[in-house]
């Protein structure tokens, strides 16, 4: 099962790397978010120039979890959004594999059919992780870019990477299940559009939880994008976490794991159903 999943996933990753357009497109998207949105929307400027903010960063930092600037706050959110869009785009490959008869052909091989689903997840996580790490590095180099907490250490870095990996796993489990089940790219995009925008908007990817009205808060807090963004933010803004902060990050990671398990179970059911002889 594992070796077959790796083989199927590896094939897709090789394909992705050989067609660098997709890689470049994902990175351009991340750059636009950081450079253009990060600087235009920048609430730190808005607060500083309004009577409310009193001309200082204090008010912004209070609202934005102590971030030294907006892009530091935004980077985890951008990675989460790019992960979401990468996943939804990458799912198309699976739909195309189905339409071209490739999934049928895989189904005539003596391999467990769920390895086709796991292969899809693996490749997507690999792609999303690659994109996430480059985006993370990129964020240091944009104007008013990412500034890590002075205490940021190796454990914090591991925490950040784990969070990214889990988030991409969550989305990949979900979208690969959908991609394997639908019969055309049209219906896949319809489902993706229906899901992706609410997941994105009801999240703390772009602004803090305090901005949401009361009725939206529970949804925003439970959103996997928020879990990943909050955990990563604590790690990069504070560094060398205190016990309370560490348990908050652990809580977020456990939440992501739960999502992964639920979506994974759902995806296995969908894949089994979609790939069974009928």
């Amino acid at each position: 099962m594992i070796s077959e999943s790796l083989t199927i996933g590896g094939r897709a990753v090789t394909k992705w790397l050989r067609n660098p357009f997709a890689v470049v497109a994902a990175l351009i998207q991340a750059t636009f978010w950081l450079v253009l949105f990060g600087n235009s929307f920048n609430p730190a400027n808005a607060f500083a120039s309004s009577p409310l903010g009193g001309g200082s960063l204090g008010f912004f930092q209070q609202a934005f979890g102590g971030a030294p600037n907006y892009i530091t706050f935004l980077t985890p959110g951008v990675i989460a959004i790019v992960s979401l869009t990468t996943m939804s785009f990458m799912g198309v490959d699976t739909v195309l594999d189905r339409m071209s008869g490739y999934l049928d052909m895989l189904s005539t091989y003596p391999i467990p059919r769920t390895s086709i689903y796991f292969g899809a997840i693996l490749q997507n996580v690999a792609k999303a992780m690659a994109t996430a790490m480059v985006t993370f590095l990129l964020a240091f180099f944009v104007p008013n870019g990412l500034r890590l907490a002075p205490g940021f250490n190796a454990i914090d870095l591991v925490g950040v990477l784990t969070t990214f990996a889990l988030l991409s796993l969550v989305f990949s489990a979900l979208f690969s299940g959908i991609a394997i089940s639908v019969k055309s790219t049209d219906s896949f995009f319809a489902v993706v559009n229906f899901l992706a925008l609410p997941i994105w908007f009801i999240s703390t990817a772009l602004f803090p939880i305090s901005f949401f009205p009361g009725w939206m808060k529970p949804f925003a807090q439970a959103n996997p994008i928020s879990l990943a963004s909050e955990a990563t933010r604590l790690l990069i803004v504070k560094g060398s976490l205190t016990g309370v902060q560490a348990s908050s990050v652990t809580g977020d990671i456990v939440g992501l794991l739960l999502y992964g398990v639920v979506f994974g179970a759902l995806g296995i059911l969908m894949a089994r159903n979609a790939l069974k002889a009928r």
């Binding site: 094939r11 394909k15 490739y102 052909m105 069974k276």
Partner: protein, 334 residues
């Protein structure tokens, strides 16, 4: 010879009520090339999808290499190679990489897979292109590579769905040669086709399928023998009058159909009929403008058993079968 594929009352109904395969029974011997011939929509591909474990069975049974398709699909999958109608290669991967990917998913040890891949690449004359990405291949090259990706694990049975549809004549002939070579090495081939010529040239036995049922099966020559002979077309110089009665009297002429100055004679045995015809023509002082002899083809067999010519024959068949078909059509309406 042992039977490697056996189907008994095989039925497939697509909900709500489309009967794609209607209770067919047939068997394929080990080492045979078995051709499933029929127009698009006849149920050939559905039958093949059932045998290759991609479609479920509504009723009946099927075994492949001794394994029941329904109860042990995993064992069936280990014994078969499948070449679908469409190209399912990875265009961003190189030729060799595609082969090795397939080998890996078939659990072939790497060294063995490399060896086998090299042999197969040589067989289909792609050894010079194995390092190129499939994206750069021509249609024929892709089809050849697709064929051998189904063979790296040395399957007992190869399923081929329309192996040469849309290919030019040269490529088609080459693919036939490869298949004959593989078959000589012991591979059993189950093939669907809607090319009459392909079924004729390649198959040891053919089953003609139409509307989900097998209309007739046998060796190509058995099927052609059913037509009882060849057809001689004679065209006389104008003004000869009606010669039908005269021609019908000749010994060993089974049937005469007139169309203007053209007569089509059905001859069970050409050798014995010809002298009679020639002497009758000479005796009558008749002048022949044109004459041609047509051997029976699978096309006519198809027409005979289904009552119509291939709906979607993509190429005009050689040796004048068009007019031959008309003879039968006319004969039937009389």
């Amino acid at each position: 010879m042992s039977k490697i594929i056996e189907a008994e009352g095989l039925t497939k109904v697509f909900p709500p009520s489309t009967k794609a395969v209607d209770g067919i029974s047939f068997s394929v011997d080990e080492g045979e090339i078995f051709g499933f011939l029929g127009p698009n929509g006849a149920g050939k591909t559905t039958t093949m999808r059932i045998l290759s474990t991609l479609s479920s069975i509504t009723a009946g049974t099927a075994t492949v290499a001794g394994h029941d398709v329904r109860s042990s699909p995993g064992a069936v999958r280990q014994s078969i190679g499948v070449v679908p109608q469409e190209i399912t290669l990875d265009s961003e991967l190189k030729g060799m990489e595609n082969l090795m990917l397939s080998a890996k998913l078939q659990h072939v040890p790497k060294q063995e897979a490399l060896q086998r891949a090299k042999e197969l690449l040589q067989l289909v004359e792609l050894d010079g292109a194995s390092d190129r990405r499939v994206r750069t291949y021509s249609g024929g090259m892709k089809r050849r590579l697709q064929l051998i990706t189904a063979l790296v694990h040395r399957p007992q049975v190869l399923f081929l769905d329309e192996p040469t549809s849309g290919l030019d004549v040269q490529t088609r002939t080459r693919i036939w040669e490869y298949l004959k070579q593989l078959n000589r090495e012991g591979l059993t081939v189950f093939m669907t086709t809607h090319y009459l010529e392909e079924a004729d040239q390649l198959s040891h036995r053919v089953a003609i399928m139409d509307h989900g049922a097998i209309k007739v099966s046998g060796t190509p020559s058995e099927l052609k023998d059913r037509l009882h002979g060849d057809v001689l077309t004679l065209e006389f110089v104008d003004g000869a009058g009606d010669l039908t009665a005269l021609l019908e009297k000749i010994e060993n002429v089974a049937e005469v159909v007139r169309k203007g100055e053209e007569y089509r004679l059905k001859l069970p045995k050409v050798e014995t009929a010809m002298p009679g015809i020639l002497s009758a023509v000479t005796a009558g002082g008749l002048k022949i403008k044109q004459m041609s002899l047509t051997k029976p083809t699978m096309d006519q067999v198809f027409l005979e058993v289904t009552g119509r010519s291939m709906r979607d024959a993509e190429e005009p068949q050689a040796n004048g079968s068009g007019s031959y078909g008309a003879l039968y059509a006319e004969a039937k309406t009389r």
